[in-house]
């Protein structure tokens, strides 16, 4: 089931994953730094290595609306966007999840205007955390590719039937080239069966879709939607295990931990910055510091049990995120804090570090400083910009 290796950017790895997953319909609108995904896909259509209906839509709203329409007849779909484009889709994001259309989308995490900026932060996807999508955050190109293939299996699972958004940090992942292992087409075809659903229009059994449900019924549909997202936690684990059996690469579920078993000071983060944290943790460990890392891989469903377990022995925890809910704190911090508050895991210090907004650099020295902040007993601010 192992194919060849290729030197690909994150975006190109996504495009390679999409080709292997054989979507029936791709509808997308260009936006920096997503563009090379849809350029590569267009080239694959041109050279006939990808057979799909490729729609040149005139906006992101239409991109997702078209994917929903295609999903509503039982087609597998893909779209990709970023930043302002994701916001422009907002109506359709809720529509896709409410209608239980398992669209798979890649989002290149990018800052939101104003001021204008094309570089990476995660305010775009995190501000849409409540739109009912499964949200995954990749750390590198290989994981991006593997997530795309897993995404269809997760999203289309009958217990889940929920759209899935894979987030790649703009430029840092989308445009960085790495050696990537490509699964074979036969392997992916065996791993990923064709999409089957009863949630579709059917010429033999006509259906009414995307209907209205009044106060007597509406909440039940929302409860079912919530249940489906919660069910995804287990489905993700099952799919990853199966993926490991097929392709030999194993993933660790909703979070990934590093040295958390005995760590006193733990940074919780997500996306590419984990790659900066990792060598710092190793270096501090070599100096005898008991530090650790939690990388959140899925923000929805939220890994509350996993986080509690990983942070159980920590004296101090810092949540580092490229996001801020203005007037309060980072959204990831709110979620981590909420998970801890529902347990007896109570680190003596819980700090929120906001950084990387608009692509501001977060260096290894910055990370080391954060661990120092966690160790210090000074009463600093709980929410601090770095």
């Amino acid at each position: 089931m192992h194919g060849q290796k290729a030197f690909l950017s994150g975006n190109e790895a996504v495009a390679a994953g999409v080709r292997l997953a054989r979507p029936h319909v791709i509808a997308a609108y260009p936006i920096t730094p997503q563009t090379t995904v849809i350029e590569r896909l267009a080239e694959m259509v041109e050279d006939a290595s990808l057979k799909t209906e490729y729609l040149h839509v005139e906006s992101e709203h239409s991109a997702l609306s078209a994917c929903i329409g295609a999903s509503a007849v039982g087609a597998r779909t893909f779209t990709a966007t970023s930043s302002q484009g994701l916001l422009y889709m907002a109506e359709c994001l809720h529509y896709a999840s409410g209608g239980r259309f398992p669209v798979v989308m890649m989002n290149a995490n990018r800052s939101l205007a104003l001021p204008w900026n094309i570089y990476g932060d995660q305010r775009d996807s995190l501000s849409l955390l409540d739109c009912g999508w499964i949200q995954a955050y990749a750390e590198d190109a290989q994981e991006s590719l593997d997530l795309i293939i897993q995404a269809y299996a997760i999203a289309e699972h009958p217990d889940v039937l929920t759209p899935l958004m894979i987030n790649l940090d703009g430029f840092v992942i989308t445009h960085t080239y790495e050696l990537v292992s490509l699964p074979s087409q036969e392997g992916v075809d065996a791993f990923l069966p064709p999409f089957q659903t009863v949630n579709k229009m059917d010429l033999d059994h006509p259906m009414s879709l995307a209907f209205t449900a009044g106060p007597a019924y509406n909440q039940a549909f929302k409860q079912l939607q919530h249940q489906a997202l919660l069910s995804a936690s287990k489905v993700i684990l099952d799919i990853e295990e199966r993926f490991g059996q097929f392709f030999g690469r194993n993933y660790s579920g909703l979070i990934e931990t590093m040295h958390c078993e005995d760590a006193e000071f733990i940074l919780v983060t997500l996306g590419s910055v984990a790659g900066t944290v990792r060598p710092v943790v190793e270096r501090l460990r070599s100096l005898g510091e008991r530090v650790g890392l939690v990388r959140i891989r899925y923000m929805r469903p939220f890994p509350d049990l996993e986080i509690r377990k990983a942070l159980a022995g920590a004296k101090a925890v810092g949540v580092l995120e490229k996001d801020i809910s203005f007037g309060y704190e980072g959204t990831v911090f709110t979620n981590v804090n909420s998970a801890l508050s529902r347990s007896n895991v109570k680190p003596s210090r819980l700090l929120n570090f906001i950084g990387g907004l608009g692509g501001k650099d977060i260096s290894a020295a910055d990370i080391e400083h954060l661990f120092l902040r966690l160790k210090s007993t000074d009463d600093g601010e709980t929410v601090a910009f770095i």
């Binding site: 209608g99 239980r100 009863v198 579709k200 229009m201 209907f211």
Partner: protein, 101 residues
């Protein structure tokens, strides 16, 4: 049948397991009528009716059916009493009668 009928026996879902998957439900599924909307009802005078079916063509609710050999039949479960049929009938074969209270 060329049109759906009122499903009197339909029981709305009680617990979550009885709800449809996603937002997909069988088409042409009627669980209530529109009869109470009407203040007047159209009545066809079979003597005058030429079966031209202009009333059927122009009815926004499609409730004038050609299902009986003896002439057109109005589905009073779904007629709203708009009066287009009576107005457009060239034979003046449809009269609007007040509904009793």
């Amino acid at each position: 049948m060329n049109y759906p009928v009122w499903q009197r026996s339909f029981k709305p879902p009680k617990d979550l397991a009885e709800y449809p998957v996603g937002t997909a439900f069988p088409a042409g599924h009627l669980v209530e009528t529109n009869a109470s909307w009407r203040s007047q009802r159209p009545v066809i005078d079979a003597e005058k009716c030429s079966s031209c079916r202009i009333c059927w063509l122009l009815c926004p609710d499609g409730v004038i059916h050609n299902t009986k050999p003896e002439g057109l039949e109005i589905d009073y479960d779904y007629c709203k009493g708009c009066g287009i049929c009576a107005k457009e009938c060239r034979q003046k074969a449809i009269r609007m009668e007040n509904e009793g209270i």
